[in-house]
Amino acid sequence: MVVSQGFRSDLLGAIPSLRAFAISLCRNADRADDLVQETLVKAWDKQASFQPGTNLTAWLFTILRNEFYSQMRKRGREVQDTDGVMTARLAVPPAQHGQLDLDDFRTALQQLPQDQREAIILIGASGFSYEEAAEICGCAIGTIKSRVSRARARLQELLKMSDDDYFGPDAISTQVTSSAQE
């Protein structure tokens, strides 16, 4: 089959964001990379089922997420790392500026329940619409909305932020409102 040429480079292009999502889910870089590897192998085997023209990244995120939860079920609660022991092994290069801030944020993010963390990452960082995020997580749009809402409230609480940093609507909100009618 010669079909794979474009598919391979598309996969390659999706890897950085796939890894970022995997690390956000696993909170452990080594495990995240194993997860990405599994995802790539699965995606390769299933490439016939991918519909060209649809969102490849969303398709890959769905595979990765399914794989993550199925591994989690197999391994049991061990994956949860609630005490943050693995945190130090995250593959995040040290930055010079605002480091303390970002570290605080990362720590707070890791304390969120799994479902809330993935929701806020998909919407606020990966740039998916509520509709796409709901598809990836296999749940209703309203469920994603409420998870994002709770995640945000919890982060504010953990970081002792107020609502005062809100200035107005922006690109994400416009995109999201248009695709997320209830």
Binding site: M1, S4, Q5, R8, L11, L12, I15, P16, S17, R19, A20, I23, S24, D33, V36, Q37, L40, V41, W44, A91, V92, P93, A95, G98, D101, L102, F105, R106, L109, I120, I121, I123, G124, A125, S126, K145, S146, V148, S149, R152, A153, L155, Q156, L159, M161, D163, D165, Y166, F167, G168, P169, D170, A171, I172, S173, V176, T177, A180
Partner: protein, 63 residues
């Protein structure tokens, strides 16, 4: 302004849509956190893996 304008849970819910953008501290931090990870690029193992998968597909009978 003052605390009496603080959101009720219901209003907060409705506002969440606008609340993760670049104009918010949490929105900015989320992006910063994520972009740091994305900027790590593609580890060699994945490029090699894809090359291997492709090779296996092109030469399925090898072995």
């Amino acid at each position: 302004m003052t605390n009496i304008y603080k959101d009720s849970p219901g209003r907060r819910q409705a506002k969440t849509v606008e609340s993760l953008g670049p104009n918010t501290e949490i929105g900015r931090k989320l992006k910063q956190y994520y972009d740091d990870l994305v900027s790590e690029g593609v580890p060699d193992r994945f490029a090699q893996l894809l090359a291997k998968l492709e090779k296996a597909e092109i030469e399925p009978d090898k072995d």
